[in-house]
Amino acid sequence: MAKSIPWIPLLALIGAALAGMGAHRLQEPLRPATEVAGLNAHETHAGATLLGQFRTNISAWLWLRTDRYLHNGVEMRPLTDQELAAGQMGVGTSDNHEKDLHDDSAMRTVVPSQSEDFRGWMGDVERATSTYKDMTNHGHNSPKTALPLFRLMTWLDPHFIRGWTTGSAAIGWGRVPGSEVKMMAYLKEGLEKNPQSVAIHMELGSVKVRRQRDFRGAIPDFAAAIRYGGPNLEKLGPDDQEALQDAFRWKTLCHREIGDYEGKVASAKAGLQLFPEDSLLMRLLHESPLKTVPGQKTPDRVEIPEEEEEHH
């Protein structure tokens, strides 16, 4: 009788079921809420540039397409390490205030200009048949037109953090009254899917500060970004590292704006422990308590820029 029981398959099934029950524990280490640096679509290595469009992630593909639509079809690429080492410059942009969407200071067109192309008439033909034009100090299409793409890419991959943060910037494009409410709703939706995302918490806080001047309300968002990012600094990708640094800066400024001197000093000190060379945090730390009076203007006070507040 005992021989008729298929023990081996039975034990294998029980083992598989137990492993499945415990598998959810692997979710956090396998899929951290922070962006993985290796998935950054704007890498500077030549190989990454070439294979950029073959990313396995369709959201990353949509991201790359979005960049093309912003340039009305002109395909751009980052300068390679060799080009950077040779001191070459990107094409630059005429609208620098859009840096939240992308940065063109180290970008150039994928199709080379005639002077940089060895292919002769074939290069001329490619420039005539592709969407190529001289992009020196170029402008951009309104990112509003790409909003459905951001919606599509975050629907396809809710963990694609850039889709949430950049999508929010696209919603806020042109500073249309009431857009901040939509921005925050979009970012909160992103936080539901990525509750530990440093970049989304930071972006939510910065919308509250920049668009609503809600310094007190933004502090918990920056604190959350610091809570999730601070202990994992080494594991963070470049975007999240920048977001974490920004979170410390904004939080320190917020404490000052609400007159919380102790909070400002504590925040600046905590930030300097992780980013010891941050000159802004250093200046904020050494401001006198007198300067924490809300709204008070003094010559050496660190001000929150009005126009270029995206990158303070």
Binding site: N72, F118, R119, S130
Partner: protein, 258 residues
């Protein structure tokens, strides 16, 4: 070269393709396009026009490339394997005529498939009221020329290797040439003179299908058609390159023991 022979051979390839139900596959692909398009409608198409047109031209390009490769990659090996080549060669047909006729047949099947997919795609776009600019006509013309060139390259491959190998190699060339050329343009400045020379030779040898794709101009607004000299240059390039591929195929085929 006799016209009626070429016509009969071309017709044979088309009929064979219909018998194999290749065009049914095209119809199913077309249905997939329509279904995907309806899924896109879920997100609303305001502001997505460029994306939809981009997707449409990309899908058209990918599907027709696959069809062109599969049709032209298996013609000659199948004729040899099924021994249907013997009755053909027993007639007063030269091997050169046979090759050119087969190539024209593959081109005809590919163009018919392209036309069918184009109709399906246009229907899907019309559903969402996405308009195309006149540059789309140039896209169609240049795509057809590029596909003819692709058929000639695959035909040569099919005489040099197994059908599967020929198809894979041809698809790699179709998808990879753009990347290789891009890499060479990026690396040229930093390469040594011998390597630069190698890049120039490689650039001349590789089939530059990408030059025939004005899909990006059709998808994004404000880009007009390419100048007439460009169309002329591409026609000349495709003619010379395809002829070279056919001559190489003939050189291989006439020495091939059957």
């Amino acid at each position: 070269m006799r016209f009626f022979v070429l016509k009969a051979l071309t017709r044979g390839v088309v009929i064979d393709s219909v018998r194999r139900k290749d065009l049914w596959v095209v119809a199913i692909l077309g249905l997939l396009i329509l279904l995907s398009a309806s899924l896109l409608g879920f997100f609303g198409l305001d502001g997505l026009q460029s994306f939809v047109k981009d997707l449409a031209t990309s899908v058209l390009g990918i599907f027709t490339t696959i069809i062109a490769v599969l049709v032209s990659g298996r013609m000659m090996p199948d004729e040899i394997k099924n021994r249907t080549l013997y009755p053909l060669l027993a007639r007063p047909i030269s091997r050169w005529e046979l090759l050119v006729g087969k190539w024209l047949g593959a081109v005809a099947v590919t163009w018919i498939s392209f036309g069918l997919l184009l109709v399906t795609t246009s229907l899907a776009l019309a559903l969402f009221r996405v308009p195309f600019e006149p540059v789309m006509l140039q896209y169609i013309l240049l795509k057809m020329i590029g596909l003819a060139m692709l058929c000639s390259v695959t035909l040569l491959m099919s005489l040099l290797m197994t059908p599967a190998g020929a198809c894979v190699m041809s698809l790699i060339l179709a998808a990879g040439t753009g990347m290789i050329v891009r890499a060479m343009t990026m690396a040229f400045e930093f390469a040594s003179p011998p390597v630069q020379f190698l890049f120039k030779v490689l650039n001349g040898l590789l089939p530059q299908y990408g030059l025939f794709d004005v899909g990006d101009r059709a998808a994004n607004s404000g880009w007009g058609p390419a100048p007439l000299w460009v169309v002329g240059a591409l026609l000349g390039y495709a003619a010379v390159y395809s002829l070279a591929m056919l001559v190489l195929s003939w050189a291989r085929f006439r020495r091939q023991a059957i």
